[in-house]
């Protein structure tokens, strides 16, 4: 029996690949679970009650009110 082609008989091809090329077949499955996890896990996490952490501030807060400029040197 010839090797099945993916585009003509996909299910037969997948069965053949899982038997004949198990490392590559299951690696593709495990690897493709990555992007799925990236998209699917955050909503699942929130649904289970986890709260997103506050974003880390990247700058100091801007002071309210007018800025006071120093007159002379502090140690004088």
């Amino acid at each position: 029996m010839s090797t099945p082609q993916f585009w003509s008989t996909p299910l037969r091809y997948l069965r053949w690949a899982s038997h004949e090329r198990p490392a590559i077949f299951y690696s593709l499955i495990i690897g493709s679970m990555g992007p799925v996890a990236l998209v699917g896990l955050p909503p699942l996490r929130r649904a289970l009650g986890d709260v997103d952490p506050e974003t880390i501030p990247m700058s100091y807060p801007i002071p309210a009110g007018p800025r006071t400029f120093p007159k002379g040197y502090d140690d004088e």
Partner: protein
């Protein structure tokens, strides 16, 4: 004065490493003998324990023979490079809290780098011997080491991702709660197979396949320079077992004792018993036990599996281990990002 202290520190690590090499060789011969229903070496010393020293003495007293037309300088330099770079990896190993020679920030990269340079020793020795067997052996060995290094470094990337550090001590301390074996079990298996191949051990010892290549890249090396190769091979076996236990089993930490402490809530007590427990929980004995078990598995594998063909060796690397590793390299960062998992050592930074 500081130079003398550095030399003493170096000797304190290198001399026990070389002595342990001697005892690993004798344990290998004894274990394989018992697996094959033989007695094994039992003449020199009690239970044959001094056999390795007798072998070393014999080799050191032998006359060395260099082939004609061999490049003598490279012929001798090859084994020296291999041994030195096999021993340099011991520099960054933490044996217990605060017990190390160098607390290098990039310790893991250092170990990878020195193990990669050791390949050049094999290549130089095989090429310079002016022998077809040695040359073919060195080519095989180099191809094998370069291929399997890819696997090891890819797995290391994931360990670094989870622990958030390239420092070996931080990687060990990150495993106080749980050893990385649990989340990375499939990768440990891949890493262990890669370790066996990286150290040129059976069933991946194609570089010294006796039936084809006499003795591979070390065919023409005899007497004391052969000792260099021999020491380098076993030193790198012990080193890679230590690396395995550091990356996946928590190194010098005893996970069991930590579990008992947390279960019984003993950490707040100050009696002598609890001090003793905390000492046991992170002592060099833990690292020694874990490493010894892994070395035993190395020997066990050697006694159990037949040598595979060279094309099988390469296809195992590129068509089996590498796809699995790449699949996890894609999956794990996505899971870490999706679940917002911080690196374990966030408090140690």
């Amino acid at each position: 004065m500081s130079n003398i202290i550095s030399i003493i520190q170096g000797l304190l690590v290198i001399v026990p490493a070389l002595i342990s090499v001697a005892f690993v060789t004798i344990s290998e011969r004894k274990v394989m003998a018992s697996m094959q229903r033989r007695v094994g070496p039992n003449a020199v010393g009690y239970y044959g324990l001094l056999q390795a020293f007798a072998d070393a003495l014999k080799l050191l007293l032998k006359e060395y023979v260099a082939p004609t037309q061999a490049n003598i300088i490279l012929f001798f330099l090859g084994p020296v490079i291999t041994l030195i770079f096999a021993l340099l990896g011991y520099l960054v190993i933490p044996y217990a809290p605060g017990t190390f020679i160098s607390d290098h920030r990039l310790g893991i990269f250092f170990m990878l780098a020195v193990s990669a340079i050791a390949t050049y020793g094999i290549l130089l020795a095989g090429w310079s011997a002016n022998s077809k067997y040695a040359f073919l052996g060195s080519l095989r060995s180099t191809a094998q080491l370069i291929s399997y290094e890819l696997i090891l470094s890819s797995v290391l990337l994931l360990v670094i991702l989870l622990t958030g550090s390239l420092n070996v001590i931080t990687i060990v301390e990150s495993q106080k709660a749980v050893s990385l074996l649990l989340p990375l079990l499939p990768l440990f298996i891949v890493f262990f197979i890669g370790s066996i191949a990286e150290t040129n051990r059976a069933p991946f010892d194609l570089a010294e396949a006796e039936s084809e290549l006499v003795s591979g890249f070390m065919t023409e090396h005899s007497a004391s320079i052969f000792v260099f190769f021999f020491l380098a091979e076993y030193a790198s076996i012990i080193l890679i077992c230590i690396l395995n236990s550091i990356l996946f089993f928590g190194g010098y930490l005893s996970i069991i004792v930590f579990s008992i402490i947390s279960l019984l809530d003993l950490s707040r007590e100050d009696t002598l018993f609890h001090v003793l427990i905390s000492i046991i929980s992170s002592s060099p004995i833990n690292l020694a036990v874990k490493t010894s078990i892994l070395v035993f598995v190395f020997i066990w594998v050697r006694a159990s599996f037949p040598r595979i063909r060279f094309d099988q060796l390469m296809s195992v690397c590129w068509l089996v281990l590498l796809p699995i590793t790449i699949a996890y390299v894609i999956l794990l960062p996505c899971v870490v990002s999706g679940l917002l998992i911080n690196p374990v050592n966030i408090s140690l930074l």
